[in-house]
């Protein structure tokens, strides 16, 4: 924010008093203020809300005297606030049962019309209903963590936030956490300031289950990221991506050459590359556990988790593995999830079909070749683009497989768990949806 916003009355500004009063009635100065004020909006450097929360604080960065681990100890459950936080009087809390087709449709529509967009408001995430059920119903989920807000008058669903339980390993500690996601407030209610109370309410309900840590991501910098990742994109259907404005064609580049550049073989190259099946769950679990153990922060998956998160489900998650043609051993694994987006205001296309790299393990097949095969099957399945973060070992294949850097940075956070130092993206083994 800089000097323009130092607190009124601070001595530094007293000298400028007379100047300010001269300008007081001057239109242009008012505009300047408005502009100054608006320009500074998105980059708030102080975080009054987060400074009150048990999260790593900026001022503690690099303070090696502070121990890693929980910031606050658990409080006795009897001391957790029993009643929900107060909402503005026109609204009420609701618990969303995604198994109910009606409720699921309401949640789907709320998100479809109001959830995350790109910087230029050309695209908006369009999580499918099947995806939402998958994302919110992992083993041991709590229905009470799927929280909605309704308008009292017409019962419309106007806001949503969720948590799901996860065991996440931080170095050698396995910590029960909530993964917080899908915070969304209806566009017509944006000035009602519902988000903080929703965050506090989901926190309260997590505490009621005797869970005291959480993991979440954000596109903005809050106190304090454990790591900051970068999105990369691999064009599968470059013509459509250019037509809808997802990517741009350089002035000297031809469409013809661009299409040739991103062309992929018709079928995967690796012998024994096939879709994962239910009977592969034990082998994939072993492969994955072993692989994820090298990262500082990673999920602690058991077979139930693997069956839920990685067994292929049409239009939700795709998983492939390499079964050695000779030994029938499962040696490699790759997966991606399906997250379409609405294309806002394009006459020819309404949906962008994106695959997001999930968990990939290579032991025998080079990772580069494995991921190229993943690109090939994604192309076969008619995805327009394949996205990946620079987490785990992804950096090793991104450039070579013609991924280009994205404008999106994703910051990862832990709630009530201090990390002494920020991690490199390659030290992170966690993908949140």
């Amino acid at each position: 924010m800089g000097d323009n916003n130092s607190p009124p009355g601070s001595p530094k500004e007293a000298d400028h008093d007379s100047d300010a009063s001269q300008l007081a009635k001057d239109e242009s100065s008012l505009e300047t203020i408005v502009r100054k004020f608006q320009d500074s909006m998105p980059v708030g450097k102080r975080h009054t809300f987060w400074e009150t929360q048990p999260v790593g604080q900026f001022k503690d960065l690099g303070d090696v005297s502070l121990p890693e681990g929980p910031i606050e100890p658990p409080t006795p459950l009897s001391e957790v606030k029993q009643e929900p936080y107060n909402l503005p009087s026109q609204y009420e809390w609701t618990t969303c049962d995604l198994d109910s087709e009606e409720t699921c449709t309401e949640v789907y529509n709320l998100l479809k019309n109001n959830y995350v967009e790109d910087d230029e408001n050309m695209f908006r995430f369009n999580y499918s209903k099947e995806f939402l059920r998958w994302a919110l119903h992992p083993p041991g989920y709590y229905r009470s963590w799927h929280i909605g807000v309704r308008a009292k008058t017409n019962k419309k669903l106007v806001a949503f936030i969720t948590g799901v339980p996860a065991r996440i390993r931080v170095r050698d500690e396995i910590v029960k956490m909530a993964e917080i996601n899908f915070l969304c407030v209806h566009k017509k209610l944006r000035s009602k300031r519902l988000a903080p109370v929703m965050i506090k309410e989901v926190t309260r309900r997590v505490h009621l289950e005797n869970i005291w840590q959480a993991a979440y991501t954000a596109g903005v910098v809050l106190p304090t990221p454990i790591t900051t990742c970068q999105y990369w994109h691999r064009s599968l259907n470059p013509k459509k991506l250019i037509d809808v404005g997802f990517s741009r064609l350089g002035a000297r580049m031809t469409m013809s050459r661009t299409i040739k550049l991103y062309k992929l073989p018709d079928s995967p190259a690796t012998p024994g590359f096939r879709k994962m099946e239910l009977h592969d769950v034990p082998a994939v679990t072993r492969l994955l556990r072993n692989y994820l153990s090298q990262f500082v922060v990673a999920p602690d998956f058991d077979e139930n988790d693997v069956e839920h998160w990685l067994l292929p489900e049409e239009n939700v998650v795709d998983s492939y593995l390499v079964e050695s043609p000779e030994t029938h051993e499962i040696t490699d694994f790759c997966s991606f999830y399906t997250l379409p987006s609405s294309i806002l205001g394009n006459q020819n296309y309404s949906i962008l079909k994106a695959a997001y790299s999930y968990y990939n393990v290579s032991t025998k097949t080079p990772l580069l070749q494995l991921m190229n095969d993943a690109l090939i099957v994604a192309k076969q399945k008619d995805f327009d683009v394949f996205n990946a973060l620079d987490v785990m070992q992804n950096e090793s294949f991104l450039k070579e497989l013609k991924f280009g850097p994205g404008d999106g940075q994703l910051h990862y956070y832990l709630y009530n768990y201090r990390m002494r130092n920020a991690l490199k993206p390659a030290e992170l083994g966690l993908v949140l949806l």
Binding site: N4, N5, P7, P8, G9, E13, S21, E27, E31, I33, V34, K36, F37, M41, V43, G44, T48, F49, N113, Y115, V116, E117, D119, E120, N121, M122, F123, T153, N154, K156, N181, V185, K187, L189, R190, S191, R193, L194, A195, P196, I199, K200, Y216, T217, A218, V220, L222, H233, S247, R248, G250, R252, T254, M255, S341, G404, G406, D407, G408, L410
Partner: protein, 348 residues
């Protein structure tokens, strides 16, 4: 006579001294008032965003209004833009539920006042207290906190300003607040509309990147890697579909089949970008339909690769060779993902 003169001079002299002293006095009073007001304002910045409410133990925190607002918005900014897309059939019954225009305007006004305060615009203490009271009513309702001690004069004045409004409805408070702001800063909304044109005016602090959750990323626009390639104005006009400019080029003597550094003609560029009208114009000006680029590809190859069916059909009708091979030995139909029967038939 001389006595009269003296008297006159004397009274002039005294008058000057008196005027000087008076001027000094006024200037002292004025500057004192200024200082005093400044101090008062610092304590009573009339906007405290709602987040302050999350800390009930500290209801009268000194308001660094600017910082608080920024915070409020970085935390509270919900996802997405606030363009008013009308979802068909869902616009009924939002009465009393949605953020009204009044909400939006009020929210904008409070933010503006905070910014103005931070920028030390002069407002009378009385107006500040009025704004404070109305703000509290609008955001928190009637005053129910205990009266601060008589020693805390500012806090007490603020409390009184809030308390005396009783059970005024929040909407009325917002209206009155806006009235006062408009009176103090007649131009404040002008500043707003200037800035928010094109983003609908209601998007205060609504960053498309919300407080939590995933991020929608698109490609970073990278400057060309093909830096060594050179093209002329005529190719750029063909690429951009600027028919009139291209005609001027031709009329001024530039060859309709001029090649760029990659051997591409204007027709290649027009087809690559999908400008059928441009292609038609070039062909009508006797452009070579079968001109090859440095890779041996014709405009029909381009149309096939880029799946521009209408253009490909037009080229074939205008004698484009469907069997021509590029340097890799591929005919246009070899490169075409789609199945265009007329291209296949021509091949056989």
């Amino acid at each position: 006579m001389e006595g009269d003169w003296q008297q006159l001079l004397q009274s002039i002299f005294l008058g000057l001294i008196f005027a000087y002293l008076l001027a000094r006095l006024i200037s002292i009073v004025v500057s004192f008032k200024d200082d005093n007001l400044t101090v008062t304002r610092a304590r009573t910045a009339p906007t405290e965003p709602n987040l302050a409410r999350t800390k009930p133990e500290d209801p009268t925190r000194p308001a660094d209004a600017g910082a608080l607002l920024h915070e409020a918005d970085s935390v509270v900014a919900e996802h997405g833009s606030v363009r008013n897309e009308s979802e068909p059939g869902s616009d009924d019954d939002w009465e009393g539920v949605e953020s009204t225009e009044l909400d939006e305007l009020f929210s904008a006004a409070t933010a503006f006042v905070a910014a103005a305060a931070a920028d030390r615009q002069k407002v009378s203490t009385e107006s500040q207290l009025q704004l404070y009271g109305l703000y509290k009513i609008a955001t928190e309702g009637p005053c129910s906190v205990p009266q601060p001690s008589a020693l805390k004069m500012t806090a007490r004045a603020k409390w009184q300003a809030w308390q005396k409004l009783g059970a005024m409805p929040p909407e009325d408070a917002m209206e009155k607040y806006l009235d006062i702001v408009s009176e103090l800063y007649p131009t404040w909304t002008a500043g707003l509309t200037v800035k928010s044109k094109g983003e609908d005016g209601s998007s205060f602090g609504n960053d498309s990147k919300g407080p939590m959750g995933p991020v929608f990323s698109t490609f970073v626009y990278e400057e060309e890697s093909e830096n060594d390639s050179k093209m002329d104005a005529i190719h750029a006009f063909a690429r951009e579909g600027e028919v009139d400019n291209l005609l001027k080029c031709i009329d001024s003597g530039v060859s309709v089949d001029a090649k760029d550094s990659e051997g591409r003609t204007p027709l290649h560029w027009a087809v690559d970008r999908g400008h059928l009208n441009m292609a038609e114009m070039l062909v009508s000006r006797n452009a070579d339909v079968n001109a090859k680029d440095n890779e041996g590809q014709t405009a029909l190859h381009y149309a096939a690769v880029c799946e521009r069916e209408g253009i490909a059909e037009y080229l074939v009708k205008n004698n484009a060779d469907t069997n021509v091979k590029d340097n890799d030995g591929n005919s246009p139909s070899d490169l075409c993902e789609s199945n265009w029967p007329w291209l296949q038939r021509a091949k056989e």
